[in-house]
């Protein structure tokens, strides 16, 4: 590698901004006792903590995949004085970490852990004759001298080795965590370990630890195995499916979160204004959100993104790389989704503001002559903020699922972007083939369900902890903590 040029895509910048905002939000929540108590209730929930591990793992992949750069091309010796030329291909840190998966391209389909291609082809035998047979893969299992005999042992050795490395990493992290928790509890580490294993800690570290063990071991094994095989096979053009699934994680997370940049200002601003000012402001805002929400969701997104595609196609010269154009389409899709889905938040906030407007402290503030905007921001918004949080968290999993449908309809992400939607879309034809090509769709299925399930479980815990009404519901449950209801 001889130099590189940092590329900041729009989505990277927005994700960084979002993470900063999250950090600021956490710092603010830590200073307020009632918020701390609500978050403690979330962290005491075992399924939420297990889900958090999965979400953090996806987030880590997404963050790694969000540092983009263009590597410099090899310079000719004669022209070394010329300015460096950079590749048109945009890479990310994740691409570097998974360089083997990215670069080991086969010709076409191959099954998971395969050493031979999926289809027969004319190959040249060592004695010069031609024969129709399954050719050896260029990279998958290329290290094996006799694939039929050695493959099982090699897979077991690599898999166990990777899992052991994951286990070692886990032991180190778990130990550090135990020491950290023990310090907080001001007791010996041994007692803390007992409490964690017995599930008696205030934060459900037990569930967190076990899930971390699972994720690290699986991750370690996958990484070690991918050094010698295509763990999840390859697709029609020979690309590693596992690598594609990793790339799809970032897209899924972005789709699920970037819409907040539009939803938050519109939803909060208009919701508060409608509830607080009432009168014609309220009528107007209600009218706007009735109009938007009366159009079927998918149809409106389809119409809007058809138009957006037109605009991007007409101005293709603005983008210097294909990645930048695909990224523009992704961000535009998020903006469209946001511009359509702010109505839920707006309606909920309006209703809450109508209630809060009549409370004594708001009346008092008004008597002191505090301005309307200040009252909304200082007195109403903090007391209605749980609604914002719950709405955003609940919407995440729905958006990840929506991406798949939208990409299938042809109005989702750019076809060159690997997302769960495009993977499923491509897999449609593969299932009709004989013998069936099942690995792409299975990979998309497993990784997508894991993400959405984790998001759903975490969202449930957040809603339960923050929604005063949910807590007041008379539910007699004898299975308290892990219930997902």
């Amino acid at each position: 590698m001889n130099g590189f040029q940092v590329v900041v895509l729009w989505s990277d910048a927005l994700l960084a901004l979002l993470l900063l905002a999250c950090g600021a939000g956490i710092a603010a929540a830590l200073r307020r006792e009632h918020l701390r108590r609500a978050w403690r209730a979330v962290f005491a929930n075992r399924s939420a903590m297990a889900a958090l591990v999965v979400l953090l793992a996806y987030l880590l992949v997404a963050i790694l995949d969000s540092f983009h750069f263009r590597p410099a091309l090899e310079r000719q010796a004669a022209a070394s004085a010329a300015p460096a030329q950079y590749s048109v291909e945009v890479l990310s840190l994740l691409d570097v970490a998974l360089a083997r998966m990215r670069t080991t391209r086969e010709d076409s389909y191959s099954a998971p852990f395969a050493t031979h291609a999926f289809r027969k082809r004319m190959i040249e035998m060592p004695d010069g004759t031609q024969q129709r047979d399954y050719p050896r893969l260029q990279f998958g299992g290329a290290q094996l001298a006799d694939p039929a005999a050695d493959r099982g042992a090699d897979i077991a050795r690599r898999g166990l080795g990777g899992a052991a490395a994951g286990l070692a990493l886990w032991a180190f992290m778990a130990g550090a965590l135990a020491v950290f928790v023990a310090r907080g509890r001001r007791e010996p580490v041994r007692r803390t370990l007992g409490a964690i294993l017995g599930g008696n800690t205030e934060v459900a570290w037990g569930a967190f630890g076990w899930m971390l063990l699972l994720v690290l071991c699986a991750g370690g094994a996958l990484f070690a195995l991918s050094g010698g095989y295509h763990v999840l096979g390859t697709d029609a053009t020979g690309n590693d499916v596992l690598y594609q699934t990793f790339k799809a994680m970032r897209i899924a997370l972005l789709i699920g979160t970037l819409a907040t940049f539009v939803v938050l200002p519109l939803g909060i601003g208009l919701g508060l204004a409608a509830g607080y000012f009432g009168g014609w402001v309220d009528d107007l805002i209600q009218y706007v959100y009735t109009v938007i929400s009366s159009i079927p969701y998918v149809l409106l997104i389809a119409a809007a993104s058809l138009m957006m595609q037109l605009v991007i196609e007409q101005h293709a010269e603005v983008f210097d790389t294909a990645a930048a154009r695909a990224d523009a389409r992704l961000v535009a899709l998020c903006v469209i989704i946001g511009a359509i889905s702010w109505t839920t938040l707006c309606r909920l906030l309006r209703a809450e503001t109508l209630k809060l407007r009549e409370t004594d402290y708001v009346q008092a503030a008004r008597c002191f002559g505090v301005s309307g905007v200040r009252i909304m921001l200082r007195h109403i918004l903090p007391n209605a903020f749980h609604i914002v949080l719950i709405t955003l968290v609940l919407e995440f999993s729905g958006l990840v699922l929506a991406e798949a449908v939208l990409s299938y309809v042809g109005v989702g992400v750019d076809p060159t972007t690997t997302s769960f939607g495009t993977m499923i879309n491509n897999a449609r034809g593969e299932l009709a083939q004989d013998p069936v090509i099942w690995w792409s769709i299975t990979a998309a299925f497993v990784f997508m369900v894991a993400l959405v399930l984790a998001a759903n479980l975490f969202a449930d815990a957040v809603r339960e902890a923050f929604d005063p009404r949910a807590a007041a519901l008379p539910r007699r449950r004898r299975v308290p903590r892990e219930s997902a209801a």
Partner: protein, 325 residues
């Protein structure tokens, strides 16, 4: 009642005007007919003449709001706004960009859509309510707990997977039904069985969980305690009291979709090759046929608003306390 209905319908008019204006902005202001023509004709052989011809053939060559070249009333009527947007209020959608008569397509394609969507709706509602009541009956046992977990897992699976897995297993491996296609008459049952089953299963998770929460909320109320105190059996309490009262919030959430059943389901229809409105819409989106997309969005909101009116009416039917003024 009639007066209320009339007022509700009148109130829908400004909303539809808003939808119409939004569509107009999206399709004609943000991107011009020139862009559409270029996208339709493909990038290579775009000449200004070809664009003009494309626009003239489809009536996109008029000015947006004000036709200075025409005389009299035609100054207003011979514009894109009136011809393409305002005419949708008369349910006259004109021709699609590919030259098909949209109204005719709508009236023929509506029925296959309904044949799929109506069974999915009815069977889905019945199964979801039954299961939710069962979970409410078993509340706070491990069966209930497992049921809720299963619901969350079902919810977390994209509807695409249900369709793909159903097609693969039932139609391809077990060979029970045709993979896709459609027929009229009784023969349709053979083609619709799988899509209906898939549609029901795909909606089951979230609905069962939601209905269960509704039933549990009812179970905690005082009248249920009274019913138990006077010695009613648990089943009688559930069916005679909890189910009836739980139906009120359930109806609010479901009646609203009834008119939209005509629209069909986008992905189910296109996967199973059912020639309904869902397939029609998807094809239009893929072919970038803007006239059809515009028409479908408008019809979608008309049906949704009709659903809202129906919801209000259904309140009076199930809850005698509600009176519409």
């Amino acid at each position: 009642m009639i007066a209320y209905l009339l007022r509700r319908l009148l109130l829908a008019v400004p909303t539809l005007i808003g939808v119409n204006l939004l569509l107009f902005t999206l399709f004609f202001v943000i991107s011009s007919p020139d862009d559409m023509a270029r996208a339709q004709l493909g990038a290579k052989r775009v000449t200004p003449e070809a664009i003009e011809r494309w626009k003239a053939d489809r009536g996109y060559d008029k000015p947006l709001f004000w036709n200075a070249q025409a005389a009299g009333r035609a100054r207003f009527t011979e514009t894109i706004f009136v011809q393409k947007s305002a005419r949708m209020f008369l349910f006259d959608f004109g021709k699609s960009d590919a030259g098909r008569d949209i109204n005719r397509e709508l009236s023929t394609r509506m029925w296959p859509s309904l044949a799929l969507a109506l069974p999915v709706f009815l069977v889905g509602l019945f199964v979801a309510i039954t299961l939710a009541l069962l979970l409410a009956f078993l509340r706070a046992t491990w069966l209930d707990f497992t049921g809720v977990i299963v619901c969350v897992v079902l919810m977390s699976i994209s509807s695409l997977f249900y369709i793909i897995a159903g097609q693969y297993l039932v139609a391809r491996v077990w060979n029970l039904v045709p993979i896709s296609g459609f027929a009229t008459g009784l023969d349709a049952a053979r083609f619709l069985a799988l899509p209906v089953a898939v549609g029901v299963l795909a909606g089951l998770g979230s609905n069962v969980r939601w209905y269960r929460a509704i039933f549990l909320e009812e179970i905690g109320k005082d009248y249920v305690r009274t019913a138990r105190a006077k010695g009613l059996s648990e089943l009688a309490v559930l069916f005679r009291h909890v189910l009836k009262n739980g139906m009120i919030p359930i109806l609010t959430g479901t009646v609203v979709v009834i008119p939209s059943l005509f629209l069909g389901s986008l992905i189910t229809e296109s996967f199973f090759g059912i020639p309904g409105l869902g397939t029609f819409t998807i094809e239009a989106i893929l072919m970038q046929d803007f006239a059809i997309v515009r028409a479908m969005v408008f019809i979608g909101s008309v049906l949704y608003i009709a659903g809202l009116v129906l919801t209000d009416l259904s309140y009076t039917l199930v809850d005698p306390r509600v009176r519409l003024q």
